[in-house]
């Protein structure tokens, strides 16, 4: 399998009134064609910021300091304006958390799908409606002809997320970024939505980046998992390896904090300490303040990558 999306040494800062937020530093990851890669880490780790920089949707205050993002041989950071717009929605698409607000509240959902189709596909105007209904059907929405005319407020959260997926997949993109797609949905709907995303990825040989704070969810659906902490990638491994032999102390804590069928919420340990303030001067290992294994040499830059096996790497002085 070839690498489809390659992010290399990405560094991104936000200029704010209260100082420079170093939101991403040396972030590297790859997604192969047809692969589902999970990006996990607690809220504030920089997962969304990373996803937006791939889509070219970064906030105006964001500045990419270094690194590269390449999708199917195309340098995304060098692609701007119209050229970038032509790729968005066609080559790469994104779905978001809170599907209700992610859809235009005063536009029929069918029309919202048509908007994307009209932009990227050469479909005659009179066939647009049929194509939009077909897109609704592909995400297993019952009674798609009727749903075409629905407004988002008339649909459940899960139904809205399916519409969102229909919009994202309307033009069969080669990369799908799903940013917390099931957060806020009930457990049954979560499973339905995740199964849908997995099936569509498999069918379409689509590369998928699944962003979630839930390691359990990533473990169930992903081929490989990238663990992020405070704007750093700290560990990358195939799913089974990461779940059975985590090498970074942070991964271990995440794993311990993930509910299993046998644990209850009360007995679940939470991750100690807080994410460091990204506006401060930070040590080479951004986890060091929260780490029980910390040694004096952990503060000596640069922090090396350790390769435990060809596809298992960890960024820690003293891996587990």
């Amino acid at each position: 399998m070839t690498d489809h999306l390659t992010i290399k040494d990405l560094g991104l800062e936000f200029r704010t009134r209260h100082g420079v937020v170093r939101a991403l530093e040396d972030v590297s990851l790859t997604v192969k064609r047809g692969e589902i890669v999970g990006v996990v880490g607690e809220s504030g780790s920089g997962k969304s910021v990373m996803a937006y920089s791939v889509m070219g949707l970064s906030d105006a205050a964001a500045e990419i300091k270094r690194g590269s993002i390449v999708l199917g041989g195309m340098d995304l950071l060098a692609t701007k304006g119209e050229a970038l717009r032509a790729i968005r929605g066609r080559e790469m698409a994104m779905i978001f958390q809170s599907p209700r607000t992610a859809l235009n509240p005063i536009r029929k959902v069918g029309r919202q799908i048509e908007d994307v189709l009209m932009e990227h596909e050469a479909i005659p105007r009179r066939d647009l409606r049929k194509a939009a209904i077909a897109a609704l059907e592909r995400v297993r929405i019952p009674d798609p002809e009727r749903r075409y005319d629905a407004y988002p407020f008339e649909l459940s959260g899960g139904m809205c997320q399916r519409v969102m997926i229909a919009i994202a997949l309307a033009c069969s993109p080669s990369l799908l970024i799903a940013d917390e797609p099931t957060t806020g949905l009930d457990v049954t709907t979560q499973a339905v939505i995740m199964d849908l995303i997995r099936d569509k990825s498999r069918d379409g040989r689509m590369s998928t980046l699944l962003i979630t704070h839930d390691l359990g969810l990533a473990g169930e659906y992903c081929d490989r998992i990238v663990v992020m902490h405070a704007g750093h990638v700290v560990e990358v491994a195939p799913t089974e390896v990461l779940l059975s032999r985590p090498a970074h102390p942070y991964t271990l804590q995440l794993l311990a904090a993930t509910p299993t069928p046998t644990s209850t919420l009360d007995t679940l340990p939470s991750i100690g300490g807080q994410l460091p303030d990204l506006r401060r001067d930070l040590p080479p290992c951004r986890f060091s303040e929260r780490c029980a294994r910390k040694l004096p040499q952990c503060d000596v830059p640069p922090l090396p990558w350790t390769t435990l096996s060809p596809d298992h790497i960890v960024r820690c002085r003293v891996p587990l």
Binding site: R85, I87, A93, F96, T101, D115, V116, Y151
Partner: protein
């Protein structure tokens, strides 16, 4: 449709309140109309006689019931000053005021909405700073002051505007045959371009004076509503789907800003109808505002009552229009209503 009927029914209590209010209000006016009408040479007896003739000596509740009865027959009484039925006076003059307010609103919308949109798109850019400056200046001065200033500059100094003496220079032109009562529209209907241009020229300064004041709230709400839409999740979705900028800005962001904009526009329009009172004085405009001012000065009960009642009904209708617009803009309103 169902919604509109329900909304119409809901206006009945406010109409009733307005009737009571107009009745009481005009009785709180200073001055004694009986004394006024009896003339300067009147003595106590002749004043009492006039008072009796006008029915002003009867108990308030009887006067009120008579008032309601008259209203039900479309009878607003006669104006003490013009000697005409008040209803006829108002119907004659209302088109002039509506024409002026409508042009003022059109001017305000035409300037304020593009300005607010541009300010929001280029936040903190030159357009945004210009917008803020214009809004501040426009909101700072009363309309009649702006009106006088414009007359001074454009009529007196530059001679670009016609003499501010009403809706049409009646010496040079004759008013077009009445259809709507708005001279510009009637001139167009009659195909008389010369009169159209002349009446438009008379309209420009008063409409701009009124419009400048209306500009500030519309520009401010447009900017704020656009900023909110632009930072919304659904605009992010639209951009992530690669929709063209024009579609993102108009179909997604702007249409979602229309609800607050239209409600402010309704408020501004009713405000414009009110400020006509002053601006019509400045420009010698023969509208209901000028009529109301002379009625108040003459303690002309019937005329004042009629004017206030008409304005209140206009406001109620205006709110109705805004509510109906809201249901057209946002399907969620229809659902809740």
């Amino acid at each position: 449709m169902h919604f509109i009927w329900k909304r119409l029914l809901a206006t009945i209590p406010s109409l009733f309140g307005v009737v009571i209010l107009t009745f009481l209000l005009s009785h709180a006016l200073p001055g004694d109309p009986a004394a006024y009408f009896a003339g300067p040479a009147a003595n106590a007896d002749s004043i009492a006689e006039v008072r009796q003739k006008l029915g002003l000596d009867r108990p308030l509740i009887v006067q009120f019931l008579h008032y309601v009865g008259d209203l039900a027959r479309g009878e607003l009484g006669n104006s003490l000053t013009t000697g005409q039925p008040v209803l006829k006076d108002l119907v004659d003059r209302l088109p002039a005021s509506l024409e002026l307010s409508a042009f003022a609103l059109l001017f305000a919308i035409g300037v304020a909405i593009p300005m607010g949109v541009l300010a929001a798109i280029r936040l903190n850019g030159p357009a945004d700073h210009a917008c803020r400056a214009i809004v501040t200046v426009c909101a700072a001065f009363p309309t009649f002051f702006i009106g006088l200033l414009l007359v001074y500059v454009f009529y007196f100094l530059l001679g670009m505007a016609p003499e501010p003496l009403g809706r049409l220079n009646e010496i040079l032109y004759t008013a077009p045959p009445r259809v709507t009562g708005a001279f510009t529209v009637d001139a167009l209907i009659a195909g008389d371009m010369e009169v159209f241009r002349a009446s438009l020229a008379q309209l420009v300064l008063p409409a701009i004076s009124l419009g400048l004041f209306a500009l500030a709230p519309i520009a401010r709400i447009t900017r704020a509503a656009m900023l909110e839409s632009l930072s919304s999740d659904f605009v992010r979705t639209a951009r992530s789907s690669g929709l063209p900028t024009s579609k993102v800005l108009f179909t997604y962001a702007f249409r979602n800003s229309l609800l607050p904009i239209s409600s402010v526009m309704g408020m501004v329009f009713s405000f414009l109808l009110g400020s006509n009172v002053l601006i019509e004085q400045v420009f010698g405009w023969q509208g209901v505002g000028a009529y109301a001012v002379s009625a108040v000065l003459a303690s002309d009960y019937a005329a004042v009552q009629g004017f206030v009642l008409m304005m209140a009904i206009l406001y109620i209708l205006l709110n109705l229009v805004v509510d109906v617009l809201a249901t057209l803009i946002d399907p969620r309103v229809r659902f809740e209503g």
